[in-house]
């Protein structure tokens, strides 16, 4: 790594939560508008996190603290590696370290709500993690490498990998737990699960998890954006458009069942990936 790399790494680590919080704020605003409400200010997520950070440190057991920190740090690390254009598969592996601890932290308390939430989160991971790697395989077929640097040199992946792009959009939807995939936390509170996997995370540790979620949200949006790496502004607009669609879907659909999610995501993931790669062969793009 060069000095420039370190600087980019640091800049990404500092800027990402600001962007992530802002996008989350926009999400709440748009959702409110769709539902005919006025909604909170766009900066509300930041107010929430600051307040949470200053709250009493309430825990059930110490392991939750470990879990929250590892979740946050692995999210930071994966975003940093993304910024310096490292190996994408490695980035996904690093991201999953945090997720594993996030789930274990919830399982480690004895609350049935957080345990059910954690079990559901595991199912969600089972639904989207393989798809995320399918996306990388698709990129590999075009770029001949897993290194983000080589993948981005390709410019307009979207044209070659339209179906893979859809798969990644699906991943985003499951990952940010929007309806119809709002299983593990029941995004709209006051439901049967209370806050699911988050139930027993409280105060500053909940704040850490919120921040980690911002990092991961931005990471996924960035992965969508590199489908148009020729001009990243267009790429960013594309990924924000997908995010906007997710908000719409969130508001017009109801939660489905876990079994449905699993079969839906795997069937779509596998068939779209295979079809797209077959298309690459026929159009002679594949290297």
């Amino acid at each position: 790594m060069t000095w420039a790399d370190y600087l980019i790494f640091a800049a990404a680590v500092i800027l990402t939560p600001l962007i992530g919080g802002l996008i989350t704020g926009l999400d709440r605003k748009v959702t409110a508008l769709i539902q005919g409400r006025y909604g909170p200010p766009v900066l509300q997520p930041f107010y929430d996190v600051v307040k949470l950070l200053s709250k009493e440190k309430m825990i059930v057991n110490d392991f939750q603290i470990f879990a929250a920190y590892i979740y946050l740090l692995s999210a930071i690390l994966s975003v940093g590696f993304f910024a310096i254009k490292a190996d994408l598969l490695m980035i996904i592996f690093i991201m999953s370290i945090g997720l594993v601890f996030y789930v274990i932290g919830a399982l480690a308390t004895r609350s049935p709500y957080s345990q059910v939430g954690a079990q559901r989160e595991l199912m969600q991971m089972l639904a989207y993690e393989p798809l995320l790697i399918f996306v990388l395989i698709g990129m590999y077929y075009v770029a001949g490498s897993f290194n983000l640097h080589d993948i981005m040199s390709h410019g307009r992946l979207l044209l070659d990998l339209p179906l893979i792009f859809v798969v990644l959009s699906l991943v985003l939807d499951i990952k940010i737990k929007k309806s119809p995939f709002d299983f593990s936390t029941s995004e709209h509170a006051h439901q049967e699960l209370v806050r699911g996997i988050l139930t027993d995370y409280a105060g500053p540790y909940l704040a850490l998890i919120e921040i980690a979620d911002w990092y991961e949200l931005v990471l996924l949006l960035a992965m969508l954006a590199i489908f148009w790496s020729q001009n990243l502004v267009i790429g960013a607009l594309i990924s924000l458009f997908v995010f906007f669609l997710d908000i719409i879907v969130d508001n017009i659909s109801a939660r489905m069942t876990l079994k449905w999610m699993l079969s839906f995501s795997w069937i779509v993931g596998i068939s779209f990936t295979v079809l797209n790669i077959a298309y690459l062969y026929f159009s002679n793009v594949s290297r």
Partner: protein, 627 residues
């Protein structure tokens, strides 16, 4: 020099095993066994340090050993015939007769006697030898403490430990025999000894189910031995080769692929790939050290060794592609089955079969990064799996159950073992531990082969799920638990501590490990080196993985958490949320079981269909010879 050392590593354990069986006194036996283990360990280090690699060496005792092995073959097969009548399992008899007849025909009429150089030593043999003698010895030491407790539980009047340790030593000798033999007939002999020793070990408790499962293990492995023998006979008959170095020097050809696929089939049975998995699943009735041995450093790894050894002969063939697919199928199929289990040992067993499938798949991909991945997987899997079996054994002797649902809140009862189990599971399923690094390499190497890649990716995701919830269970507690060091026999403690240390250190030093022993092997195979390793960074032509930053991040998180816990006086302990109800700390409170997805996965039904598919894939491998 090298040949004498190798001879020591094979002969000493076998001779000592014959002596051990006569020793009744516990103290004498323990000293004796430890001394043997020490010799095995030191000889492996000495071979590693002194041998000039790769080399094929002869020994001045060739004649006598060869005679002993020739006689030994028949003694062994006749003994299995006798076993067959004793346990009333005709299948064993069928396969031993199927071996005796061709063997006699082959040795009397076909094989022309000539002295060949006895031992084939290269980095792969060294790696295997180190795994057997380090991980294997640690498991054997663990057995000291475990077996005492085990016999107390069984209320045995007369200890049967002499037999137990004798077989274990025999096993080690035979493993080293497989690893170093250059003459394929020798390899076959030692291969059969390991089959027989695993029968003796699995049936150790003499219960009805133990004997039943042991005889199943024996007949399936005898089938494997039969297949191996057929392979060797065909090889000699059509090419005149009987040694490993000759086979590896010759060019890939039709004629070579036929015997090689028979040998690989034999290896599939030994590594319990589908549809042969039932013997390894049944083997968990044996005392835990036996499971640990079979699953980690010995037995199943002999099969991986053989396939790795033969990999150059089928590089770039259609057959290789089918082997990759077959391994990937076993990987995902057994991962799915593991998902439906709550029995800790069974989860581990399925996960072993899955990981062996992953290794076989990598070997089938057969590029230099895939072979690297396979060798690294072999090493890391041996350490982590041995550790986990020993953990489950320790837990079982304490709480009386191996069900992961019964392990809820284990952290309050056995904090040290829980933490070690926790690290052990992590080392199998998350980055930056060596298993995951190798998996990363395997997936990237497989990406050219879309179907294989998809299967590997799906299987890996499932692996994360069934291991994560296990960790969740052992850590699950509604309050902070006090830390204390639980009482354990010193050998048990030593085994757990040393294995967990090895698991962590090896993962940290994976690049050095690669440069020291894996890279020369790839060099020797004359493959273009596409994998490079510098301090903490693994790189292939497809991508790169930085290990240190990840360890650093995890370390930082752990430190931050410790500092928070230690320094803040304002931490408030609260009760788990139960919607306003009073939290009940006993086990009578509300509790949630893991999702085992019984509505999707029916073990029995699914196994049946998966067996059919795997049979078709095996047929495809044989069909692949023609393509």
């Amino acid at each position: 020099m090298a040949s004498d050392l190798v001879l020591i590593s094979i002969i000493v354990p076998i001779v000592m095993s014959l002596i051990t069986i006569t020793i009744g006194k516990a103290v004498v036996r323990k000293t004796f066994v430890s001394a043997t283990l020490l010799i095995v360990f030191l000889s492996s280090l000495a071979i590693f340090k002194t041998a000039n690699l790769p080399t094929v060496v002869g020994t001045s005792y060739y004649g006598i050993i060869d005679k002993l092995i020739k006689v030994g073959d028949y003694v062994l097969l006749l003994y299995t015939l006798y076993v067959s009548f004793k346990v009333k399992e005709p299948k064993i008899a069928i396969f031993s007769i199927l071996q005796i007849l061709p063997l006699a025909y082959f040795e009397l009429f076909v094989l022309k006697e000539q002295e060949v150089r006895a031992f084939y030593i290269d980095n792969l043999s060294i790696i295997m030898n180190l795994v057997v003698s380090i991980v294997g010895s640690i498991i054997a030491l663990y057995a000291f403490g475990y077996m005492d407790h085990h016999e107390k539980e069984e209320k045995l009047v007369k200890s049967r430990q002499s037999r137990f340790f004798a077989v274990i030593l025999l096993f080690f000798g035979a493993m080293n025999g497989i690893i170093f033999s250059n003459n394929l007939m020798w390899l076959y002999f030692f291969w059969e000894i390991t089959s027989l020793s695993s029968f003796l070990l699995i049936s150790h408790d003499k219960t009805e189910v133990a004997i039943k499962n042991a005889s199943r293990a024996l007949w399936i492995n005898m089938f494997g031995g039969f297949s191996l023998l057929v392979g060797i006979i065909i090889l000699y008959k059509y090419t005149g080769m009987i040694t490993l170095d000759a086979v590896l020097k010759s060019d890939t050809s039709y004629i070579l692929l036929i015997p090689v696929s028979f040998m690989v089939l034999g290896a599939f049975t030994k590594s319990a790939q589908m549809p042969f998995q039932s013997w390894l699943l049944g083997a968990m009735v044996a005392p835990t050290p036996v499971s640990a041995l079979l699953h980690s450093s010995t037995m199943v790894k002999a099969a991986i060794y053989l396939i790795l050894r033969l990999a150059p002969t089928f590089r770039g063939t259609t057959l290789s592609g089918f082997i990759a697919l077959y391994g990937a199928f076993t990987f995902i199929a057994t991962s799915i089955l593991a998902l439906s289990q709550s029995n800790g040992k069974k989860i581990l067993a399925y996960s072993t079969i899955a990981n062996l499938g992953l290794m076989i798949s990598s070997i089938g991909i057969n590029t230099s990064s895939a072979i690297t991945a396979a060798i690294l997987l072999l090493i890391f899997h041996a350490v982590s799996k041995a550790l986990l079996f020993l953990c489950v054994g320790t837990i079982e002797q304490n709480i009386g159950s191996r069900d992961i649902e019964d392990m809820k809140g284990l952290i309050t009862k056995m904090p040290v073992t829980t933490i070690i189990t926790f690290i052990g599971i992590l080392s199998l399923m998350i980055a930056p531990f060596g298993m995951l690094l190798s998996k990363w390499m395997a997936i990237e190497a497989a990406s050219r082969n879309l179907l294989v890649a998809l299967l590997l990716i799906l299987g890996s995701a499932i692996t994360v799920m069934y291991y994560t919830r296990w960790i969740g269970n052992i850590l699950s507690e509604g309050h902070n638990s006090k830390f204390f060091v639980e009482k354990q026999p010193s050998t048990v403690r030593f085994a757990l501590y040393s294995l967990v240390t090895i698991a962590i250190v090896l993962s940290l030093a994976v690049t050095q490990l690669f440069n020291a022993i894996v890279k020369p092997e790839i060099n020797m195979l004359k493959m273009s080196i596409s994998v490079k390793a510098a301090a903490g960074y693994m790189e292939s032509n497809l991508g790169g993985f930085s290990i240190y930053p990840v360890f650093f991040a995890i370390g930082l998180a752990v430190m931050l958490a410790f500092l928070t816990i230690k320094n803040s006086r304002d931490i408030v302990e609260t009760k788990p949320y139960e919607a306003g109800l009073n939290y009940d700390d006993s086990n009578n409170g509300y509790d949630v079981k893991n999702y085992y997805l019984p509505s999707i996965i029916n073990e029995e039904k699914m196994t049946k269909y998966m067996n059919y598919i795997s049979l078709i894939l095996i047929l495809a491998i044989f069909g692949g010879i023609l393509l």
